[in-house]
């Protein structure tokens, strides 16, 4: 029964993190972005619209959406509490499915914000088209955003999972997925690597008013979140396999929910507004090349 209570407690944390804390941070971000937006530019773009009133309206709408989702989550929690407590009830995968569907619902307001933001940036870009394009002559690399230790940890966790899967193949348990687990994690790593590469070297600047430091902050947040998600994904699959191996499969729903909550918390830095820095945090370093061999004739 303790696994049921642990799962329900974790689900309650998911409701709080996803529909209360995360929106609160987002509202902070929205207010900070709105405050840093030049008033005269806003007046040009939206004549006759008060910036503060429209920001507060936007914030209220976002808050209402998330409060609705929190209430829905509490109702779902109540249902699960009643349903899972009955001793003769075998819920199977139902709690995991419900938690996953609820997670998707929690992401809808953020998705809407992202869509609106992209539309707004496009409009801003076309209004700012002055024919001047700026860039900082500074190389970006993966290790400017995450430490080599963290990247090594991500690689190590992948290989350890691979080793664990090979080990469990010799002592399989009912429902063991084998190399499917490795396949899923490989896909996660591949997609993350693709997105990280695109963020660092490619991709256009979304917000045309964003400074170089803002952009580095945004790239850093995405890169860190993805690398940590890869580590978390490997750990979660390993934990899930261990639970199966130790005949503790009933703790599976709790493990899934814990993974969701940890992933949400890890992604918080990408939501927070950037602190005004003293510098960009990037060095122009790199190894010094050996003396050149070619001199142009005088």
């Amino acid at each position: 029964m303790s696994e049921t209570y642990a799962f329900l407690a974790m689900f309650a944390i998911q409701i709080v993190t996803g529909s209360v804390l995360c929106p609160a941070l987002f509202i902070r971000r929205i207010r900070a972005d709105a405050a840093s937006f030049p008033d005269e530019r806003f007046a040009e773009l939206f004549p006759g619209v008060d910036k503060n009133i429209s920001t507060e309206r936007f914030v209220t709408r976002f808050r209402v959406q998330n409060t609705g989702l929190a209430v829905l989550g509490l109702l779902l929690l109540g249902y699960l509490f009643i349903d899972m407590r009955s001793p003769d009830r075998n819920a199977g995968q139902m709690p995991v499915v419900l938690v996953s569907v609820y997670l998707v619902a929690q992401l809808i307001p953020l998705f809407l914000i992202g869509r609106n933001g992209a539309r707004y940036n496009r409009m801003l870009k076309s209004s700012l088209a002055d024919g001047k394009r700026k860039a900082v002559l500074q190389r970006r690399g993966l290790f400017d955003f995450v430490s080599p230790f963290t990247v090594s940890l991500a690689a190590l966790s992948y290989f350890l999972l691979f080793a664990l899967v090979i080990y469990i193949r010799q002592h399989p348990f009912p429902g063991y997925g084998g190399f499917t687990n490795v396949g899923i994690i490989t896909l996660l790593y591949a997609v993350s690597a693709f997105v990280v590469y695109g963020q660092i070297y490619g991709g256009k600047k979304g917000n045309p008013l964003a400074t170089h430091a803002d952009r580095l902050h945004a790239i850093g947040a995405v890169v860190k979140t993805l690398v940590y998600t890869c580590i978390g994904g490997s750990l979660f699959v390993s934990l899930d396999l261990m639970l199966g191996l130790l005949r503790l499969g009933k703790w599976g729903p709790f493990a899934v929910d814990a993974f969701i909550v940890v992933s949400a918390i890890v992604s918080y830095p990408s939501i927070l507004p950037r602190r005004r820095p003293k510098g960009d945090g990037l060095g122009s370093g790199g190894p010094l090349p050996p003396p050149g061999t070619r001199d142009l004739p005088a």
Partner: protein, 128 residues
């Protein structure tokens, strides 16, 4: 160091890029051994075609202002500051003038020099 490309300017974009990199090297903002962004990164940041940035890098490399070190990336050349002052066009003109003067002294006519120049260029393997 920030660079600005004016897409409405009559100066070609790759030339603007070359001029600004050379100006940064001459001013000491970019020092020997400093890492430069990759072609892809700079092209994306400036929203230019990567071929434009590649052309600028190629010409800077030809002038020994930058050097490419394979997968390690592109760096400012150790003698970039000196090489920035070097004017390749002027140097070419001077070398040709010297050769023409020598040929004239030997009694070769201008039309013969012109034909010989075209023939000599035709015999050389094509430049990259």
């Amino acid at each position: 160091m920030e660079i600005t490309i004016d897409i409405d300017s009559p100066v070609p974009q790759f030339e603007q890029l070359i001029d600004q990199v050379k100006a940064a090297v001459t001013a000491g903002v970019l020092k020997a051994g400093d890492a430069l962004p990759s072609i892809r990164q700079l092209a994306n940041d400036l929203e230019l075609n990567s071929k434009t940035v590649a052309k600028a890098y190629k010409l800077l490399e030809r002038d020994s202002v930058i050097e490419t070190k394979g997968y390690r990336g592109t760096y400012v050349h150790p003698k970039a500051k000196t090489n920035c002052k070097f004017n390749l066009q002027e140097w070419t003109l001077r070398k040709l003038s010297e050769a023409i003067a020598e040929l004239r002294e030997a009694g070769v006519t201008d039309s013969e020099i012109r034909n010989a120049f075209v023939g000599a260029i035709g015999r050389q393997p094509s430049a990259k």
